[in-house]
Symmetry: C2
Subunit: 311 residues, 2 copies
């Protein structure tokens, strides 16, 4: 059994590779909900949708988010009214948000709705939100104040310096049903190549999750989202620096050493493997840039085997 | 100044005719909100939208509701999840609901949002919701119990017998800003050819509106939605019968005699004009079936002139 702590695009690609090398029924994805937002009355779960759409083969290849074959009639109409259209919602994608919002209003927990959506797409793995409760990543922008994650990430296109991040609601949140068990009972726990601060951070902030991971440290492996000092996508490198961490695999190792035993880093960071070890993690070096399904599958294979490597 | 109490399709067609004969700036439409619903988290105002879309020349000619050039990607997606898709929301139409829901969540009253939407469509008349507060038409179905108006109208396609109608929230609702003044200051008030029970009834149920209309009775004229004993659209005839009223222009006159002085009826009901008079209303006979813009304009012209007819 493999449990993967997941953010959005990087995690989704890793999971796609993983499903090429292990049976879907053996995989549980525990997905960040810190990016979730309520916009125009709709409950939107960007990371859950990116994981689901990617694994369904339905992700929009042009954007890396949303659905393929998408149309934008609702957004065009919203713009006609001068409505807030900075967060783009495609017409097909809106069907997902309508369904989720309706079911939540009926009293269904997010985990149940997520399972229904995954089932509708024919996915064989288990997709769990990290929590059924609201955990909201709040970002303090220098000289401006605190905004929601999406206002920072999409609204400001993450082009502004960050001075603090917090997870509103995390203290009172409970892990979704099955999350702690999925960590506890896994043969391997993988921290996917996602932003450690704003994708994995919210998952670890939910009381009980970090503790479960610490107890499982000997079977937990993280894949670095930082390659040669830069994030492949998004602001992870700048955010690490702005919040006082080294923007490198060594900085990532410093963040994960308490909860994981191995850090998988890209060939480009081979020369830093001793520094990763000095930061408290075993270092495995392998191509991590998932430019093809084959590379993603190879990365997944090495990653899940890495906790059993002789050292 | 002309003030029109309006439901959906029939009222929208009447208003379109009216705007051919008087300047838009002289016209205020006070529109039913009893049909409004919150579905999938979105605030939907069917009658307001039908009036706005019709007057904008953007109504879907195939359905009589929704927008022309519509697509249905969101509904197809919603259906993929097994979501509730009985209330059809087109992709372009969704933009309206997203905008309205967003603005309401920001604290804007429905009247302000309605004005913004009308302005975006370039409408010259004033469109007012009857109330900014929630007034919800609830329908009791024989042998089943009480359901919302849309569950009756769309969900059951109004093909089931009704034993009662009430307007939840009406007691505590206030007329939207301008409604009472629009009635009080009008040269003519028109009750549009809409369902008297479930389209005009909710408007009259809001405290102050019926009283304002009674005070204006001598300048108020109603157009019968019943022609030759049948509704042109919808269940008005059956509903009148089921709730103990005669399903004819005479039954309509009985409902409106307290608030209006003239009832405009179709040529087909010429033989009932004495009975209308006996029910307490002056009867004006003219073609009311708005099969063309010219007929609608002629109907509007006669209707607004009718309160000045010599008798």
């Amino acid at each position: 059994m493999i449990t993967v702590l997941a953010g959005g695009v990087g995690a989704a690609r890793f999971l796609r590779g993983l499903l090429d090398v292990v049976p879907p029924a053996d995989v549980t994805a525990v997905v960040n909900v810190g990016d979730d937002l309520v916009l125009h009355g709709l409950h939107i779960s960007p990371d859950l949708d990116t994981v689901t759409y990617t694994l369904a083969g339905a992700i929009n290849p042009d954007t890396g988010w949303g659905l393929s074959g998408e149309t934008w009639q609702a957004m065009t109409s919203l713009e006609q009214y001068g409505g807030e259209a900075w967060f783009r919602l495609g017409d097909r994608d809106l069907g997902t948000h309508l369904f989720r919002t309706h079911r939540l209003a009926e009293g269904a927990p997010l985990s149940a709705v997520t399972a229904e959506i995954a089932r509708a797409w024919g996915l064989g793995l288990r997709v769990l939100p990290a929590s059924d409760d609201a955990v909201r990543t709040m970002v303090t922008i220098a000289g401006e104040g605190e905004v929601s994650f999406q206002e920072y990430f999409v609204g400001r296109q993450h082009a502004v310096p960050v001075t603090a991040v917090r997870f509103a609601g995390a203290d009172a949140a409970k892990p979704a049903p099955g999350v702690i068990e999925a960590i506890r009972d896994a043969d391997v726990v993988v921290i996917a190549p996602s932003n450690p601060i704003v994708s994995i951070g919210p998952v670890l902030s939910i009381p009980g999750v970090r503790e479960a991971l610490v107890a499982k440290r000997h079977r937990t492996v993280a894949v670095s989202p930082i390659v040669a000092g830069a994030a492949l996508k998004g602001p992870a490198d700048r955010m690490l620096r702005e919040l006082g961490h080294e923007p490198s695999v060594v900085g990532v190792a410093g963040l994960y050493a308490e909860v994981a035993t191995v850090l998988v880093v890209d060939d480009a960071d081979l020369r830093l493997s001793a520094d990763v070890a000095a930061a408290g993690m075993e270092c495995v070096v392998v191509p991590t840039v998932m430019a093809s399904p084959e590379i993603a599958a190879a990365l997944a294979r090495v990653t899940i085997a890495s906790v059993d490597f002789e050292r």
